[in-house]
Assembly symmetry: C2
Homo-oligomer: 209 residues x 2
C-alpha cells in the first residue's frame, strides 16, 4: 500500500535503519510488487541481470546470520533480507525479454531480430570479469530503486555490503559460478529511526569540462 509518493521526501528522508519492528511482516505479494517497481531500472542492453533471493523464513535467516558480520540485528528484526545477485548468464533470458517486448507491442519484430543477432553473441563472448562488472552495476541500479520504492510502501532498508561472499552460495543454495552477490538489503518497518549522515558538497566531487 502506498505510504507516500513524495519524491523529495522519499529520497532525502532515506536512512540506513538497523532496528526493525519484528512484528511487522511483509507479504510475498507486496515484496514482489516492490521488486517489480524497482526493476524499472535500466540495464545494459536491457538484459536485466538482477536476481532477488528473498530470505524471510527463520530457518534461512539462521543460515544467513553467521555470514553478515556485525549486521545480525538487521537479520534478526527485518521482515526480509534480500540478497541481490547478478546473473552472469543473463543472456539466456535475451530471447524471452525481446520476444516479450514484441508481444506487448513495445518493439517491432525487425528491431528485435537485429538487436538480438548483434548483441547476444557480443554478450556471450564477454570475459567473466567484464560480465561481472556489468551485472554488478545493473544490480546496483535496481538495488537503489528498491530502497526508494520500499519507502513509498512505508518501509525502510539497510544496504549491507560486508558479507562472507564465499560462503553465501552454500548457505542459500545458489550456483556460485552463475550468480555474483552484489548487496544484501534488509527491509522492514523501522523501529528506530536511522541517523542522518553527512555528505561532501557537490562542488568538492565534481569537475566541469
Amino acid at each position: 500500500m502506498t505510504h507516500t509518493n513524495d519524491f523529495s521526501e522519499i529520497l532525502s528522508g532515506r536512512r540506513s535503519v538497523r532496528q526493525f519492528d519484528e512484528e511487522v511482516k511483509i507479504s510475498q505479494a507486496e515484496l514482489l510488487e516492490m521488486i517489480q517497481e524497482a526493476v524499472r531500472a535500466p540495464s545494459s542492453i536491457n538484459m536485466q541481470p538482477w536476481r532477488f533471493l528473498v530470505v524471510t523464513s527463520k530457518k534461512a535467516k539462521e543460515r544467513l546470520r553467521p555470514l553478515i558480520r556485525f549486521n545480525t540485528r538487521q537479520n534478526d528484526t527485518s521482515a526480509a533480507m534480500i540478497l541481490i545477485l547478478g546473473d552472469l548468464q543473463c543472456y539466456e533470458y535475451g530471447e524471452q525479454i525481446y520476444d516479450g517486448a514484441v508481444a506487448t507491442g513495445l518493439m517491432p519484430q525487425e528491431v528485435r531480430d537485429k538487436q538480438l543477432s548483434t548483441m547476444l553473441p557480443y554478450y556471450q563472448n564477454l570475459s567473466k570479469e567484464e560480465m561481472t562488472r556489468i551485472v554488478t552495476i545493473d544490480a546496483s541500479l535496481a538495488a537503489m530503486q528498491f530502497m526508494l520504492v520500499a519507502r513509498k510502501y512505508g518501509y525502510e532498508t539497510n544496504p549491507i555490503g560486508g558479507f562472507e561472499a564465499e560462503r553465501l552460495p552454500d548457505a542459500l543454495d545458489y550456483n556460485k559460478e552463475r550468480y555474483v552477490p552484489v548487496m544484501i538489503l534488509a527491509v522492514g518497518k523501522a523501529k528506530e529511526a536511522g541517523f542522518p549522515s553527512y555528505r561532501l558538497s557537490a562542488e568538492e566531487i565534481t569537475r566541469f569540462e
Copy 2:
C-alpha cells in the same frame, strides 16, 4: 526548478532518451544541485567514492565523441555528458567526511574516532580488485538516483555503459590509477520521447527462502 515531485511518475516514466533539445543548456548551479541530491545515496562506510566529471563544453565533447561508440547522438545533443567515476582512494576523504559529521552535529566525536580508527585501516588495505567492486557499486547507486533526480527537474537521461575505458583518462585528463569509470549519463531536455521497455516479471527473477 522542480518539474514534478511525483515519485511513481518519476520512476515509471523514466526512459532512455537519446535525442535531446540542443537549445536547452543546464547551468552549472543546477547540475550541482542535482548532483547534491543524487549523492544522498548510501555508500560503504559513507566513503562516498563517486566523482562527477561533467562534460559540457564543445571542446571536451569532441574529445569524448570517438570514445562512446554508437552513442554520439546523445553526446551531440545533450546538455551534459556526466562521467561517473569511482575513486579508489576515497578513504583520503575519510577524516573530512567524519569531521564534517561531527561539526554538523550528526555524529558524536567518540563515534567518529572509533569508526575511523577501525574502518580506515581496513579500507586502506583492501585489494584494488575489491575496492574497484565497492566503488563501482556505490557510484552506481548515485548514478541511479541522478537519473531520477534529473526527471524531478524536467530533464531526461541515458545511461551509457559502452565506452572506450582505456582511452577516457587521456581524453578527459584524469588519473587512471585512481579513478575507475563506471557509467556515462547523458542528460538534457528530451526532444524525442524514449521507448518504454519490457521487464521480466518479479516472479521470474525472485526466489523466496
